[in-house]
């Protein structure tokens, strides 16, 4: 199995607050990794370190054999790292179609006519084709989350980082989203998924990683990780004693 992403002893602190401490892990091509941890554990910072929005104080990151430190976020996107934001960042003054077109034209770096076709097919796949001409600012939360996903997909990622994409959705909506994410996975895209809705994660990921105070607490098969006493205590707030 080839390693797609290699995170090696990465550190990040803001003043005396260590948000990431000697964090190391790797992700194989085609793998789906779930990330859980309490609020403020450094999960989103981990994504920001991978996408280049935040620069690490130490350690190194490598994507598909390419060291990432000299690549700006836009360059990392073109290498094949796509992301969604916890709070959707739609281009509110542009239509849903144009939002996705940006991902295809710049992330995948293809001509506008080719990007048009990619964007239309992805909108169709994500169930947004009927809203293609609406301004993204007018969308509901579920559709904004779908748009985040569609836009990231349009950039043709090899690795997709999902940041609490199911947060705030109803049970029924989560169900639809899981189906879509499974489909994305099956198309060969690797995933790292941060989520508080654990059953959604369990339905998709191969491996689960628990982060607490910026450090790796435990990782392994999802069921085994969720059943371990320290995870129950720290993450679920269950006192095992």
């Amino acid at each position: 199995m080839t390693v797609l992403l290699d995170v090696n002893s990465v550190d990040k602190s803001y003043g005396s607050l260590h948000v990431t401490q000697h964090l190391s892990f790797s992700l194989a091509e085609g793998e789906a990794l779930g990330v859980i941890g309490p609020n403020g554990a450094g999960k989103t910072t981990l994504f920001n370190l991978i996408t280049g929005d935040v620069k690490p104080d130490g350690g190194s990151l490598c994507f598909a054999g390419t060291p990432l430190d000299t690549h700006p976020p836009s360059g990392r996107c073109r290498l094949g790292i796509g992301r969604t934001y916890q709070i959707p960042h739609p281009f509110t003054g542009m239509t849903v179609f144009e939002n996705v077109l940006v991902g295809a034209a710049f992330g995948a770096d293809i001509s506008e006519s080719a990007a048009n076709r990619v964007a239309i097919d992805i909108l169709d796949r994500c169930g947004l084709i009927d809203k293609a001409n609406q301004l993204a600012g007018s969308l509901t939360l579920l559709d904004r989350k779908r748009l985040e996903l569609a836009r990231a997909l349009a950039s043709g990622p090899r690795l997709l980082l999902l940041d609490e994409i199911a947060g705030g959705l109803t049970e029924h909506e989560v169900h639809d989203l899981i189906a879509l994410i499974k489909e994305i996975r099956e198309s060969g895209v690797s995933l790292i998924w941060i989520e508080h809705i654990v059953h959604a994660l369990m339905a998709v990921v191969d491996r689960l990683m628990v982060i607490n105070f910026g450090a790796l607490l435990r990782e392994g098969a999802p069921r085994a990780v969720m059943d371990s006493p320290d995870v129950k205590e720290i993450y679920m707030g269950i006192d095992v004693e």
Binding site: Y85, H89, F91, G93, D121, A132, N133
Partner: protein, 355 residues
């Protein structure tokens, strides 16, 4: 019968839809722009001198507003120092036109180039700053240039100098007509260029940056490169307009050339018209000239009233008066939106109809 047949897989969506940018309004907008351009070009034969002067001023103010809209509305670069380049452009007339004897109208492209060149080192410094710090930084650059100019006796120092020697031999009619024609090129050209630019691939990036910088960057847009493009274009535009302004005024001083008023005018127009749209600055310029005509009798109250209008619009209609109008009637004179339309299925295709 047909129910027994296997269901054919749905064709990919990209074969069922296509993308258009033209609308009925966009044709009207393009035609209106051309008609206005023709009417303005013929103005020396049908208009009087006062009207020509007003039209010239209207057009160069419109050009300035469009450059500031590009900068602040799309690039997110709120500059309060664009007078730096207007002043530089104006002083290019003194150096190249008066002192070196270059034809004064040929100084205009030179002024654009000089401004863009000076913008490179200025940008290297300013792009380290963000938001309000960037804004103050641009003002500092303009003040530095003003002081440097005021202390250079070769260009007239603090009291300024006259440019009339450079226009000797050019008949007044020709000078005023050429000034108008160049103002048309700059004013309407700024709209036409902005329109073409926004409909291009780069325009897509620029609109994305306007709406969310982090999302643009994470989707592969080189935000810094776009910012530089916008900053240099705006500098060149202001330089060219600066030269034109002082060709029509024929006298230049550091106080007038590097005046903050230029930027506050652009700011006022873009904000009341509608920031981040092509139509907003057009409407804003019309309103600015209308208000100025209406309120000019009020003396110093004029500026206070103008300020009150700006505050009112900012509070009540943050996307400007064009935002208000376009929302109400779904208007777009220069639509840059790409829309997806379904291609009507041919009759012999799929008896099940479309999904």
């Amino acid at each position: 019968m047909t129910d027994c047949l296997p269901h054919p897989p749905a064709p990919p969506a990209s074969t069922r839809y296509s993308v258009v940018t033209q609308t009925r309004f966009s044709r009207m907008g393009e035609i209106a722009l051309i008609l206005v351009a023709i009417a303005l070009c013929l103005m020396p034969w049908w208009g009087d001198r006062g009207l020509i002067r007003t039209a010239t001023e209207f057009l160069y103010v419109l050009a300035l507003a469009q450059t500031w809209n590009l900068l602040a509305g799309y690039g997110g670069l709120v500059s309060i120092g664009q007078q730096a380049f207007i002043g530089l452009g104006g002083y290019c007339l003194v150096v190249f036109g008066v002192q070196m004897g270059v034809n004064i109208f040929l100084v205009i492209p030179i002024a654009a180039a000089v401004s863009a060149l000076v913008a490179i080192p200025a940008g290297v410094l300013l792009f380290r700053l963000r938001g309000a710090y960037f804004a103050v930084g641009t003002w500092v650059v303009a003040e530095v240039l003003r002081l440097l100019t005021a202390n250079t006796t070769a260009v007239g120092g603090g009291s300024g100098t006259s440019i009339t020697t450079a226009v000797k031999g050019i008949p007044a009619w020709w000078r005023e007509s050429l000034t108008l024609w160049i103002a048309i090129v700059l004013g309407l050209g700024a709209i036409a260029l902005g329109y073409l630019f926004l409909r291009s691939r780069n325009g897509l990036a620029l609109q994305a940056i306007r709406d969310s910088e982090p999302a643009s960057e994470s989707l592969g847009i080189r935000v810094d490169r776009m910012r530089w493009t916008v900053y240099l274009l705006a500098a060149a535009g202001c330089g060219a307009v600066g030269a034109l302004i002082f060709i029509s005024k024929l006298r230049i001083s550091p106080e007038a050339a590097y005046s903050l008023d230029w930027t506050t005018t652009m700011f006022f127009i873009v904000v009341i018209g509608g920031i981040g749209t092509l139509e907003g600055p057009i409407l804003g310029t019309i309103l600015f000239f209308a208000l100025r005509g209406l309120l000019s009798g009020f003396g110093s109250w004029y500026l206070i009233l103008l300020g009150a209008v700006a505050v009112l619009v900012m509070v009540r209609w943050p996307d400007g008066l064009w935002g208000l109008l376009s929302r109400k009637w779904d208007l777009a004179l220069f639509p840059t939106q790409r829309r997806v339309v379904a291609i009507a299925p041919r009759k012999e295709d799929s008896p099940h109809g479309s999904r």
